[in-house]
Amino acid sequence: MSDSLIILAIPGCALAAAMLIALLGPRLLRGQSHWVAIAGVAGAVAAAAHLLYDAVPGLGEGGRIAGTLYRWFSGDGFTARIGYLYDHLAAIMLVTVTGVSLCVVLYSRGYMKGHRGYPRFFTYICLFVFSMCTLVLADNFLLLYLGWEAVGLCSYLLIGFYYERPTASAAARKAFVVNRVGDFGFGLGVLMIWLTFGTLDYGQVFAQVPGASAGALTAIALLLLCGAVGKSAQLPLHVWLPDAMEGPSPVSALIHAATMVTAGVYMVARSMPIFAHAPGVLAVVAIIGAATALFAATIALVNNDLKRVLAYSTISQLGYMFLGLGAGAAGAAVFHLFTHAFFKALLFLGAGVVMHAMADVLDIRRMSGLARRLPITAVAFFAACLALSGIPGTAGFFSKDQILAAAFTSPGLGRLGPALGWVGLVTAGLTAFYTFRLFMRVFAGPDVLPEETHGHVHKPSPWMWLVLVALAIPSIGAGYVGGWLLHTLGLAGLAEAHAEPHWLLWTSGVVAVGSAFLAVLLYGPARDWTLATRVDQTAFYDFVSNKYFIDELYDAVFVRPARALGRLCTMIDDRVIDNLLLGVTWAPRGIGRGLRAVQRGSLGAYAMIFAFGAVLLMAVLWLLT
């Protein structure tokens, strides 16, 4: 009972904070709104941590805490419930989500200070924490869908936070709509689950999976995957995430790196019983993951916008997680989700500090040598770069390696596994390269500031740099803790079947260090631009740096034809259907008008008509006989 209350307290605290700020923020709290948010999110963290501590032994043995809050709505045989399920997967997600959220809220105290939408910002963030916790704690697919859409809404509101910028409101709408395309599949998947199993509750659905037909399971898995691909910005629905960087940096860190975008990974991991029994779908997941990882990494190589490089990197890392899921190693994927949350959040928060310091300039070609001006940020950023690159010993190394090992040895993927593993390995090299390219261009080299700063570098407030330091610790060390945690929670068991080959450990380590070293050589203090500029001028570079023209392609294939169709619809309304109707109403009038002409009482006309009629009649008779 008390555990149930504590579970409900996690989203409850966040919701209470959101409502409180929404009601009191604009008039009363204003610049102090963050206190409510901090209290609310800290409450959620405390509850999540307490539960973890309390329940770890039980969860490892498949223990779970479940319950129903109330019945939502019904339609004959169908009843939607608001219920919660706390198990090992929910436990690790909740710790990650609330932990990163608290960091971001604290950081935002410094970052958003003085903005006129200050209470609004914290309302949205708390609403997001609530929605994300609902998503994670849901015990049925419909409530999962609710949380799913709700985090999407928060993402929409926060991307469009600077709503006066046309690019921000456009990006917000794009994010929502592209996600809706994925959710179209997700929604149909939920309906398909209902059709197949007659229930939407996880437990009952998963229990019936072994007896269900393969066709139905494949359909369900593919439809759910649609939603996951949209939310986690995988190919071909990745287009919204880079644009989402229009939101404030803390939002990019929390929603578009650490938590919301990983909801797709969570969903697939949660539905693993369905995916595992759907033949071929896991291979699709793995292929999408590997392709996305490679694809996004190539764009990150050539992009020059600090936050967008990180965004493509996020897409690429999410691709790794999908690869892990596809290899059947949900534990490895969730492990990477866990470590990635910390170091990617740190990178984005660091980018936020740079953005403040550089007067919102994000072009990495226009700045360099910031390490001297922002030393703490540089050190923290460096730690996160090490983790992202997968340098041995850091958090990213362990989790990425588990995924690669799973891919190489996956029994489900067969011969496809090693091939995708090699793609992952190549991507690991690219990752280390673009990460250090970024770091070197921004923090090393001669002292260059964009003219917008007027020579003044805005120093981060203690709220900000303390959070950076705090996040640097798990970026390096989460690999050790996370490994232990996953083992105790029984999640690692999902990946343990794959014995990790030793050569892989060495190879990936060498690839990461080597690529990082190459980047340091090319972009480091002894920088030599000749090679870089030569590459810049090739057509392929142009193609990649334009993001493979996928936005333009979608615009031409989907958006324009649909709008043209819409215009056609209204034209048909106005010209065709209306005229048909008016034609009907004109018919009596027209007939009347026509007949009026022959009855004007003019004797001449009558005679004329009579004569014509007679001639016509005779002609007809003559023709007939």
Binding site: Y70, L153, S169, F176, G187, D573
Partner: protein, 614 residues
């Protein structure tokens, strides 16, 4: 407290008078407004203090009346939630005999789990629409508010009556006040809009009238239960023809694709309150008609045409959504979105599954709230800037945060955001449609996965066009057209107290029906099951009927003109339909056996047979 109070006062005996009062009160309001307006004809000159007071009196009378109606409705809802039986009995007033006593009609009133929510929707929207008129209506206020009250009475009448003739009278009567509301207080193209609206709806209802008369004559009565008994036992072909006759009137009202072209213009040109009532309630008259008469009276026909109706509904969903996307006029965008949403409603009704039907009914309520709210908010913006062109507006979030907040909230509700009201209904419709490809519970397969999948595309598109609107109007750089109109300049930038009073209740309802629609979905269940069991029963009796049809031909001559006397007959479970003698001409005796396998059916059927025996 409220509920117990309501149930003490609302017994079966008083409920009938309460229902009559729902229709009577607005008419009383009309009379009061007329009395108050006498001698004030001069006072509607523009400007001056006199004009304000000339505006105030009819406004106050109308608002007070609509609030009393709302209170009474709240009592009805409470009574219904406590015990649906209290209200579901039939209460008869104004008994009429036509054609020398051969045709029976009465103003018979009743409320069940379906109509109670539509009555509640009407009662909630009307005071809000009236409040929304305060600022914009400055000419001939007495006439305006009088017409609104007439409209109110007629709309409540449609949902209350259980008599086909009265249904038709109220259904058609809504046309007249709205015609004047559009043509007198509308926008620049108001005459064309009103003309188009009138011609369209009138054309359709002529055929409906033919259907009404045919059924009435055939049943010897216009009472819903008798008509249903007669209609549902007609052979399939006759049912389909009758269905098409009713279709003509209802499909135009809904509006079902491709009979929708009157709607965008009428919505755009109508004054705010007109659009609110038109979208919120009047469109539902069509869907309610389809449900109450189309499906319930002609179940075999409904089954036969279900795929066609589903096809038109899906076409409407996509057509409306695509049309909405390319509009530059905000009101027109919302008007096209109505076509799309009503498509969902029709899809739910004709999937003929309990989930879908529940969803379809819920769409009626939710669309009424969300779209009504959108029109009200757009009206507030229009009152300030006198433009509906999205290109002339922008960034209003800065100028009017409160109004913008509500606009976004209602847009989200309309695009089916989970946690708000629209989602629940949309989901139930899609769920029911999705599973309707398989026979279940005695019902044959109707629509299926394909329909649901295509309809779900409409869910994507609704996000596209509504967020397009939000982006244009609320977000971006602040863009305001210059306003020279003097009264608008007096409005503050953001919401006034009056506007808060309009938006807040709607906002609360939108959230409440999103997180806890359980009372509604539960109370809809009873009547929905009843309707569908009727449909399922047709399916069972259909083959038997066909076999009987051959055998019956021989006996046709002798039975065809036999007259029946049914004395004090008890039909259905609710009590006496008529205590007077009813004379029926029944052409095909066997067909008038009620298709429902109800217990009461057997003795009644046997009695009919006995009387028929030559």
């Amino acid at each position: 407290m409220d509920a117990t109070l309501a149930t003490t006062w609302m017994t079966s005996a008083t409920a009938g008078w309460a229902m009559l009062a729902l229709i009577g009160l607005p008419l009383l309001g009309v009379a009061l407004i007329a009395l108050a307006s006498i001698g004030r004809e001069r006072s509607d000159l523009p400007g001056g203090e006199d004009a304000a007071s000339g505006r105030r009196v009819p406004f106050a009378i109308a608002l007070a009346t609509s609030l009393v109606v709302l209170l009474l409705t709240a009592a009805l809802v409470a009574a219904h939630l406590c015990d649906p039986k209290t209200l579901s009995g039939s209460h008869e007033f104004a008994v009429c005999w036509f054609v020398g006593g051969g045709l029976y009609s009465s103003l018979s009133l009743s409320v069940d789990g379906i109509s109670v929510w539509l009555i509640a929707l009407t009662a909630v929207l009307m005071p809000l629409a009236l409040m929304g008129s305060w600022h914009s209506i400055r000419r001939q206020c007495g006439v305006y508010y009088g017409l609104m009250m007439l409209l109110h009475a007629a709309m409540l009448g449609v949902f209350l009556v259980r008599d086909l003739l009265w249904f038709y009278i109220f259904f058609e009567f809504t046309l007249i006040p709205l015609f004047f509301l559009i043509s007198l207080w509308g926008g620049s193209q108001r005459r064309r809009a009103a003309y188009k609206f009138f011609v369209y709806t009138l054309a359709g209802s002529m055929l409906t009238l033919a259907g009404v008369l045919y059924l009435g004559v055939k049943a010897g009565s216009f009472d819903f239960r008798l008509v249903r008994l007669t209609a549902s036992s007609l052979p399939l072909r006759e049912q389909v023809i009758l269905f098409l006759a009713f279709f003509a009137g209802f499909a135009i009202k809904v509006p079902l694709f491709p009979f929708h072209t009157w709607l965008p213009l009428a919505h755009t040109e109508a004054p705010t309150a007109g659009s609110v009532i038109l979208a919120g309630v009047l469109l539902k008259l069509g869907t309610y008609g389809f449900l109450r008469i189309g499906i319930d009276f002609m179940p075999a026909a409904a089954l036969a045409v279900a795929p066609w109706m589903g096809g038109l509904a899906v076409a409407g969903i996509l057509y409306g959504a695509l049309g909405a996307w390319v509009q530059s006029d905000v009101k027109k965008l919302v008007a096209y979105s109505s076509i799309s949403h009503l498509g969902f409603c029709m899809l739910g009704l004709f999937a003929l599954r309990p989930e879908a039907l529940t969803g379809g009914i819920l769409v009626m309520v939710n669309h009424g709230l969300s779209t009504g709210a959108l029109f009200l908010v757009i009206g507030m913006i229009y009152e300030r800037y006198h433009t509906r062109q999205m290109s002339e507006l922008g960034g209003l979030a800065r100028r009017m945060p409160v109004i913008s907040f509500f606009l976004v909230l209602f847009a989200l509700s309309s695009l089916g955001m989970p946690g708000l009201n629209g989602f629940v209904s949309e989901f139930l419709v899609l769920l029911g449609t999705f599973v309707s490809g398989r026979p279940a519970g005695g019902l044959p397969a109707t629509l299926g996965i394909g329909f649901a999948a295509v309809a779900a595309l409409g869910v994507i598109l609704s996000a596209v066009y509504l967020l397009h609107m939000v982006r244009q109007v609320v977000f971006g750089q602040l863009k305001e057209p210059e306003v020279h109109d003097e009264p608008s300049a007096r409005l503050p930038a953001d919401a006034t107290g009056r506007e808060w009073a309009i938006m807040l209740p709607l906002g609360v309802l939108v959230v409440l029906l999103g997180v806890w629609p359980m009372p509604i979905t539960q109370s809809i269940r009873g009547p929905v099951d009843e309707i569908l069991s009727n449909v399922a029963a047709t399916q069972k009796t259909q083959p038997a009927e066909r076999a009987a049809a051959g055998a019956q031909k021989a006996g046709d001559e002798e039975i065809s003109n036999c007259e029946l006397k049914i004395e004090n007959c008890r039909l259905g479970e609710d009590g006496p339909v008529a205590s007077a003698n009813l004379r029926f001409e029944i052409f095909n005796c066997q067909f008038s056996i009620p298709p429902r396998p109800a217990v009461a059916a057997t003795p009644r059927a046997s009695r009919i047979r006995e009387d028929c025996a030559p």
